[in-house]
Symmetry: C2
Subunit: 347 residues, 2 copies
């Protein structure tokens, strides 16, 4: 089959690789219908996250079960399924608690020896614990299929941030980060009943989506000026719930600055940089909580799926460029140069 | 009157100062019956927290109302009352939310221009918002009076840590810090229904109190060895709820190390050191939350007071040395040299 392989920073190629086969009786082989490129893939693309030459890449995909191992009970050949961005056994104590990302048998797509999502097919370990079935009819609904793809990462990650930030009915929320996850954080906050949602961003295309997803206010300023602008909107106070969807020291500093005393930061931006950006003295004096991390999206899919199927929420606008498999390298360039928000792949 | 004054690091004196008088109609003047020395006072004593020469010191006290301003409604001359370690107006939005430590009109005892608790009397601003009445009979019960004094800081702070750590019925808890706050954290965790409580400490006097307060296990190791020891006790995992009651980079690192994936650290140790001790990458991967800060003990007193009055909990063992006002400097030395756990002052 053909799949995306990362050879070195900025050297992403689509090439022939061995077809995936069932290796364990709990495996499924999936034919990929839709995949996409994640903001976190760019860290590997830019060489800021180490990869071994030849590793696969891509961790967001949905598709059709092509083959199922003898011990797979939940899925049959022909099923339409979505995969979360990590696999998990579904049976350990962490999976039972819903923290599937801490499953000792779990792993990331594209890690050494595993398939990535940006290819024609994927071997899925622990299929029963990992995959979630989608209605068969969705396979022929192009728009819905795109919306459902967001369940593999960005929608669940935005939801995780909103949960970590403690968003509830009537909350005032501020969102740091105008990427797909930040925008999904806006959508998740709105879905959880937030009354006021302030999106930080200055790119019109993105802030328009933010408003479409439920943002009531947009703040274009950055850094200290952003902190001032948010506080001015809120009568001098910060927001009770802050979503941090970037992961840099500066974004974390901004997040602390715009949080109301006693409030919470739900952070889902993969931390980058030598420091944390956290001034613990300030957080201590103001009782600001920090909750979040890598999102256990597998756990959230059953809760979010019905709302996507019914059209109550539609995250598909985060995909603003569609490419075929051969154009994946061009897709990385577009995201790296921020000419695309999030790239959809139709293999 | 006589009160404790800090002139320079290691230069603490008890001397004549002006008698406190009512300055605002919402003030009360309180005659101090019991006060004490806090671990955080030692930061000033050691010069690690800046103080202006001549500042008063001490923020934990209870006593008798000697004079009440014309707008004080809740208290009358002769009332026995306890003061939390910050004053607060009781009427602002933060006070209404229970975050009395963020009251814009609030302040710390011993800050420039205010009285400290380690003296014969204190002017209490915003008495109605700040003080809590105690049963008059307690004034003649020496043991109970000592237990009640813990409501001014350490018991409420330990409770704040337990709440921040998410302790609930059946929780497994680990406590970093064997000072009075850490020990009260053990007590608070037990009170909230924790099933297993692991106290980190190596001083027999302190670990005996920890066991008395509800610790089921004691770990004497430090640093990485402590992390290993806790995990060995818990079958390879960390504790769901971790109380951090020290505030150094090393203690924070230990706290992260002994937290179970998806668990929470309730931190109440005043942060010290140039860095945070937080490895945000580890916290992110393992979904470890950080909640806490300066404890709004005023808010907790009504919840904790009945249990102290009934004897259900008795924090008085954290006081292991009693001094008169003139011996306060000796009390600081004893705590600085760790020959005393917490010094009780009877002015």
């Amino acid at each position: 089959m053909r799949a995306t392989v990362i050879h070195a920073p900025h050297d992403i190629r689509v090439q022939e690789v061995p077809d995936p086969v069932i290796q364990q009786p709990t495996d499924v082989v999936l034919r990929v219908l839709r995949a996409c490129i994640c903001g976190s893939d760019l860290w590997a693309y830019r060489g800021e996250s180490a990869r071994q030459p030849g590793q696969r890449i891509g961790h967001e995909f949905l598709g059709i079960v092509e083959e199922a191992g003898s011990e797979v009970n939940g899925f049959a050949v022909g099923d339409l399924v979505v995969a979360p961005f990590v696999w998990s056994d579904g049976t350990c104590a962490h999976c039972a608690e819903g923290l599937t990302t801490s499953c000792p048998q779990g792993g990331f797509w594209g890690s050494v020896g595993s398939d990535g999502g940006q290819g024609e097919a994927v071997r899925v370990p622990f299929a029963d614990g990992t995959l979630v079935r989608l209605p068969a009819a969705a396979a022929s609904d192009d728009h819905l299929l795109t919306a459902l793809l967001a369940l593999s990462d960005v929608l669940g990650t935005g939801h995780h941030a909103a949960v970590g930030a403690g968003v509830k009915r009537g909350s005032t929320v501020a969102v740091v980060g105008d990427g797909a996850v930040g925008l999904c954080g806006v959508m998740a906050a709105k879905r959880l009943g937030a009354e006021r949602i302030i999106a930080l961003g200055r790119h019109r295309v993105r802030t328009d989506i933010a408003r479409d997803f439920g943002a009531t206010d947009v703040v274009a300023e950055r850094g200290d000026a952003a902190v001032e602008a948010v506080r001015e909107l809120l009568g001098g106070e910060g927001a009770q719930a802050v979503i941090e969807a970037v992961g840099t020291e500066q974004s974390m500093r901004t997040a602390v600055g715009i949080t109301r005393d006693g409030g919470s930061i739900g952070y889902v931006g993969v931390p980058h940089g030598s420091g944390t950006g956290l001034d613990l003295g300030i957080m201590f004096d103001r009782n600001i909580a920090l909750r979040g991390g890598v999102a256990p999206v597998r756990t959230y899919i059953p809760e979010l799926l019905p709302d996507v199927l019914s059209g109550t929420i539609d995250p598909s606008p985060v995909f603003d460029l569609t490419v075929g498999l051969d154009e994946v390298p061009a897709g990385y360039r577009a995201m790296d140069e921020r000419t695309a928000l999030k790239v959809l792949i139709k293999p």
